[in-house]
């Protein structure tokens, strides 16, 4: 177990290093820099700014400084927002995205699994067809359509919720739904197909031959075996959701991480791009790591020590 953890940790550091380097150089390849705007800045001021942020030094020197700061967990100052560190931007943004994300994950996983089971148990009957129809809709309708739809009907027409912002607890409802629809639909379809496969397995017949009731067969025998593909999906999905959705956050006017991600790139805010990319990578790796551990808990055939890095 400890060997497994150390190995994982080592791989994580290596991946982060590769990622950090790749992002650094890619960013430098993009034309433009943080101090380009419609208005030409006087050469002297520009030189001063570049000197301040170390952009006048040769590339390798910038790279080394950057790596050195990274080792000390210093993500630097934002180049666009005065007197703000990248860490504090991530901190405030992530707080919103995380809160929303957790709600969305809970909603999508519960709704998805329940719908998937209902569909599987009613295979080829009305409820199955109906659920799958809804799921296909959920997968194919982009979330900005869902988000604006919710705003229009629940916000403007019915006046149940505020159209935007995150001030009251009820303000979380619409963005959560908007975030959860797609993953919920996806999980429902995964659960359904996985359940259908498991329900025809021989060991389900064995359980029936033992006189187990339908409920026990479903929960003890079928679901645990059927849930593995869903867990595989939930890992990366978690990372995706809690790091924020650009579109949903933009539509509901929430200052989450997603918004910063896009803005940082259009602004060429070098330090913020780097910081967010690495942050996203860390979250993704953590999510995958937790998925691996969850696997081992669900399926005894999977041993942490023998699992290859995936």
């Amino acid at each position: 177990m400890i060997r497994f953890l150390l190995k994982k940790l080592f791989y994580m550091v290596v991946s982060l290093f590769v990622l950090a380097s790749a992002t650094f150089f890619l960013m430098k390849i993009i034309p433009g820099n943080p101090f380009m705007s419609e208005k030409e800045i006087p050469k002297a001021i520009r030189a001063m700014l570049e000197a301040k942020y170390g952009l006048d030094k040769p590339l390798w020197s910038q790279y080394l400084t950057y790596l050195n700061n990274l080792i000390h967990l210093d993500l630097g100052m934002s180049m666009k927002q005065q007197y703000t560190t990248v860490s504090s931007i991530i901190g405030t943004g992530f707080l919103y995205s995380l809160q929303l994300g957790i709600f969305a994950i809970i909603l999508s996983v519960t709704a998805g699994i329940v719908l998937g089971i209902i569909a599987a148990l009613n295979h080829r009957k009305f409820l199955d067809t109906f659920t799958i129809f809804i799921a296909v809709l959920g997968v194919s309708i982009p979330n900005f359509v869902v988000a604006s739809g919710l705003q229009y009907f629940l916000g403007v027409k019915l006046r149940w919720f505020d159209v935007a912002g995150l001030n009251d607890p009820t303000d979380y409802v619409m963005p959560t739904i908007a975030l959860a629809v797609l993953p919920a639909a996806f999980i429902a379809r995964l659960t359904r197909s996985s359940m259908l496969e498991v329900l025809t397995a021989d060991y389900i017949k064995t359980a029936r031959a033992k006189g187990m009731s339908g409920r026990i067969i479903l929960y003890r025998h079928a679901l645990r075996n059927a849930i593995l593909p869903v867990v595989t999906y939930i890992g990366p999905m978690t990372a995706n959701i809690i790091t924020g959705s650009v579109i949903v956050e933009q539509i509901f006017g929430i200052g989450g991480l997603g918004k910063f991600f896009v803005n940082s790139i259009t602004n060429r805010d070098y330090t913020l791009i780097m910081g967010l990319t690495l942050f996203y990578a860390v979250i993704l790796m953590l999510a995958r790591f937790l998925t691996d551990i969850a696997y081992a808990f669900i399926d005894p055939r999977i041993k942490l020590s023998s699992r290859k890095e995936g």
Partner: protein, 336 residues
């Protein structure tokens, strides 16, 4: 002798896209207390469906089961689902063909044995575990105390099938249905598994229905044999009678297609040519007629009934046994 199971005119139809598959077409047989009855026949002859319908394990729909299954004097087919749950596992146990897939990979062997005990006998978890260890010891699994906490993937194929037997017999059922219990196993392991079943049968007085196409196993353990073809019983009788004096060409074909030790090297095995009929449109006459070397004109339009032939309790469904047919021993039976 006490009849523990009596099956009358059992029919199982499956609705499929192309029509209705008549998997079992009017099967009659009985099982006495403590005896072993083997059901033999090639793949797709309805033996597994027959076995599974005894426990009402055939998925329905698409299956429609009619007829009568009297188990300990009670009709199985009219029981409610809840009542069935108390028959399955408690009164009837079942062993399946493939031990690699019939155990739940995410539960320990112990858990899979104890859940039946807890449900049917109201045992506490601790008592059930004790009983599970006992069962594992009985089926010949070494170190049952530690094995009970292991998962199926930590067991070999033979060990898993022993585990399956332990599961099926844990609640001491009166009837054990073994659906090809040795087919998926190594030859050396097959004998061990059969021995375990025989030993426990003596110990518990369990009746066994053994579904198999391995006639060697049948000769070894069965008291009586039921030969099925195309969803019907074509011959039934004491094992000795069936082997020494088969009265149906299909039974003879099955026996001839088994390799023998005293066979010469260049002597070919005699297969039964052709394939079983399509059970969506079963033939009007004898279902075996198309493959039968001794088929007569009467066989095609007229289905022979299962009638008594020489020997106690020996029945066969073949026109050759009719008084007007040629004696079977004579060469060629093409004239009727």
């Amino acid at each position: 002798m006490e009849r523990i199971l009596e099956v009358k005119d059992l029919r199982v139809n499956f609705k499929v896209r192309g029509g209705i598959v008549q998997a079992v077409r009017g099967v009659n047989f009985h099982v006495n207390k403590g005896e072993t009855v083997a059901i033999v026949g090639e793949s797709g002859c309805g033996k597994s469906v027959t076995a599974q319908s005894l426990m009402r394990l055939v998925p329905s729909p698409p299956a429609v089961t009619t007829g009568s299954i009297l188990f300990k004097g009670e009709e199985v087919l009219t029981k409610s689902l809840r009542q069935m749950e108390n028959v399955r596992g408690k009164e009837m146990g079942m062993i399946f063909q493939d031990p690699m897939t019939s155990l739940n990979p995410t539960l320990t062997i112990g858990k899979q044995i104890t859940e039946g005990l807890v449900k049917h006998q109201g045992m506490s978890a601790a008592a059930a575990k004790q009983r599970a260890i006992e069962m594992l010891k009985l089926v010949g699994i070494p170190n049952p105390e530690s094995r009970v906490n292991q998962y199926p993937h930590e067991f070999s194929g033979g060990m898993r099938q022993r585990g399956m037997i332990a599961i099926a017999l844990a609640c001491n059922p009166s009837l054990l249905i073994a659906d090809e219990p040795t087919t998926a196993l190594d030859v050396t392991v097959q004998a061990q598994i059969m021995n375990v079943m025989k030993d426990l049968q003596v110990k518990f007085g369990t009746s066994i229905i053994l579904i198999t196409h391995d006639l060697g196993v049948v000769a070894d353990v069965a008291d009586r044999v039921i030969v099925m073809y195309a969803g019907k019983v074509v011959e039934s009788g004491k094992t000795r009678d069936i082997f020494k004096n088969p009265k149906h060409p299909y039974t003879r074909g099955l026996l001839e297609s088994v390799p023998r030790l005293d066979q010469k090297k260049d002597e070919p095995l005699i297969p039964i040519y052709g394939t079983p009929p399509d059970l969506i449109k079963p033939p009007a006459g004898c279902a075996f007629a198309a493959r039968c070397k001794e088929a007569m004109r009467v066989c095609l339009p007229n289905d022979p009934a299962l009638v008594s032939v020489e020997g106690e309790d020996h029945r066969a469904a073949c026109w050759l046994n009719h008084e007007l047919a040629h004696p079977i021993s004579s060469e060629g039976g093409e004239s009727a």
